[in-house]
């Protein structure tokens, strides 16, 4: 049976369609608002736009919240799809089933960051009664809307190209050690990981927004490779099982959700202050505290596995 019949995908796509419909309604109004919005004027049109602004706000609050839940649900359904796709032991196989998989996942992650940024700007905008950041906020959303449409199209292409008959390669093949980019060795990777982590923490306390943005962006990739190629081994306690997805499964007590969740939250709060300040000029240094908190949390979980294994066996994988 084709992939579209599996319940998770059917439900997922139908909810995506509903969200896309709502967002296009909102986008229609946003275009109107962006063109004719003038807070000082007192024409009937302006009051009408204000009322439409409430509709856009309600819809976007709802869709951003649901989008985050759907991202979690997407990961869950990838896991359960592993049973349907031949040869896939975990969602790595499902994602690797065709070239679009990784693209969709990466785009989804970027969108979550983008919508998160929008959400923060929106809450700032609503605190002041005269909607000071309305225009930049809606320009940002219009850009995100194009991404959302392309994300939906990409998902359809991705799901329709998942081969159900041909077995796909799963994590043991996809993530071999020679695949490490730029000739990293594992030790070098770990050193960079900890160095970058410490530098981010320092920058956060010094409130250097632009620097911590760059470090966090770098940390996004370093963190991904460090967890997949180094810390993952100690979670699975196997030298060659390098897979970022398997730790999301039941047998590893869903630890993956916490490790990746805290990492992304830390990076998100690390990158946002500079962007928000540039767009709205508001001071959001408080977010840096959260960034350090979550990054430290994610790092402690990873190091716990590493230290725990090393103390237990005294062997470095």
């Amino acid at each position: 049976m084709s992939i579209f019949l599996s319940t998770e995908i059917v439900v997922f796509l139908l909810i995506e369609v509903i969200l896309l419909l709502l967002m296009s309604i909102a986008q229609g109004n946003i275009i109107l608002i962006l063109r004719r919005w003038d807070f000082e004027s007192s024409t009937a049109l302006q009051y009408h736009l204000e009322k439409k602004n409430y509709l856009v706000n309600t819809i976007l609050y709802f869709t951003v919240a649901v989008k985050i839940i759907l991202f979690l649900f997407f990961i869950l359904s990838l896991n359960s799809l592993a049973g349907v796709v031949p040869g896939a032991m975990c969602s790595a196989g499902v994602v690797g089933a065709n070239v679009y998989g990784n693209l969709v996942l990466f785009l989804k992650l970027m969108l979550i960051f983008g919508l998160g940024l929008w959400f923060l700007i929106n809450t700032l905008d609503l605190t002041a009664p005269n909607f000071p950041h309305l225009k930049p906020k809606y320009w940002l959303f219009s850009f995100l809307f194009i991404l959302l449409c392309s994300e939906f199209a990409l998902e359809i292409i991705y799901f329709s190209n998942i081969p159900l008959k041909v077995p796909v390669f799963c994590c043991s093949v996809v993530f071999q050690s020679p695949k490490l980019p730029f000739g990293y060795t594992q030790e070098f990777l770990v050193v960079v990981y900890y160095l970058l982590l410490v530098s981010i923490l320092v920058l956060n306390t010094l409130k250097q927004k632009i620097a911590t943005l760059l470090c966090n962006f770098l940390f996004f990739f370093v963190g991904y490779y460090a967890i997949t190629y180094f810390f993952g081994l100690y979670i699975y306690e196997m030298p060659n099982h390098k897979c970022p997805y398997c730790m999301l499964q039941k047998e590893y007590y869903y630890i993956g959700y916490f490790i990746w969740g805290f990492l992304f939250l830390g990076i998100f709060f690390g990158m946002m202050p500079y962007l928000i300040e540039r767009i709205t000029g508001a001071n959001t240094n408080a977010l840096l505290k959260y960034s350090s908190f979550f990054l430290v949390l994610s790092a402690t979980i990873c190091t716990f596995y590493f230290v725990h294994y090393y103390l237990l066996t005294g062997v470095l994988l």
Binding site: F39, S42, Y47, E50, K51, Y54, P129, N130
Partner: protein, 225 residues
């Protein structure tokens, strides 16, 4: 000190359409704090429209309305609803109560927007009910009350936020003479509380009320001196 200043207010319904109706023409009024004003005039003379403008229920086509140094003529909904919530207590001709709820629940309504604790809310509600002396019917559903009692519940609701301005639109139209006189005595309590009151009515009973400071006569959307 001026409580409310209306300068050159115009109100044109469905302005651009052929059946445009010029409801208010060049209204200029200044109301002192604590003053009780009666808008007299036959129905259709624009009394109710002026009152709804004062109460922020609708917006003037042109002109300024200054209340406590703030122009409320052109407010976005967030600010105009805050103005109605904190500054205005409205008493309508048809009482406009939530029939399914009890008196207490109706009077509580404005306080529900605030973050006060339960004890504070109950305290304020009881004080408003006492002033409007409807406290004995607190638990009863509004739909079972008589006309006079409903009016007193509406008064309590208008007073619960302790707003500086009370607006009443034909308050005695649905009341018998006994309750109308009671309402007129209520004007004294309003005066005692230092409220600025504007009543739109064409009820003759108001002639003999002592508490009234000024009468404004209106005809066809204009003030006649």
């Amino acid at each position: 000190m001026k409580q409310m200043i209306l300068r050159d207010i115009h109100k044109i319904y469905n302005a651009s359409k052929p059946n445009a109706f010029h409801a208010l023409k060049a209204i200029n009024i200044e109301i002192e704090t604590g003053e009780i004003v009666i808008l007299k005039g036959v129905s259709g003379s624009g009394k109710s429209t002026l009152l709804s403008l004062m109460g922020g229920l609708s917006k003037p086509s042109s002109g300024d309305m200054i209340v406590e140094e703030e122009n409320i003529a052109k407010l976005p909904d967030i600010l105009s609803s805050r103005y109605r919530h904190e500054k205005i207590g409205f008493i309508f001709q048809s009482f406009n109560l939530l029939n399914g709820l009890s008196v207490e629940q109706n009077v509580q309504a404005p306080l529900m927007l605030s973050h006060l604790s339960h004890t504070h809310i109950d305290e304020k509600v009881m004080r408003a009910l006492d002033i409007a002396n409807i406290a004995h019917k607190k638990r009863q559903r509004v739909s079972d009350l008589s006309g006079g009692e409903k009016q007193r519940c509406a008064i309590a609701r208008a007073l619960v936020m302790n707003p500086p301005i009370i607006l009443a639109d034909e308050p005695t139209a649905n009341l018998d003479t006994h309750n109308s006189r009671l309402f007129i005595e209520m004007l004294d309590t309003f005066k005692a509380l230092g409220k600025t009151v504007v009543v739109a009515t064409h009820d003759v009973l108001f002639e003999e009320a002592k508490a009234i400071d000024r009468y404004i006569h209106m005809k066809d959307g204009e003030i006649i001196p």
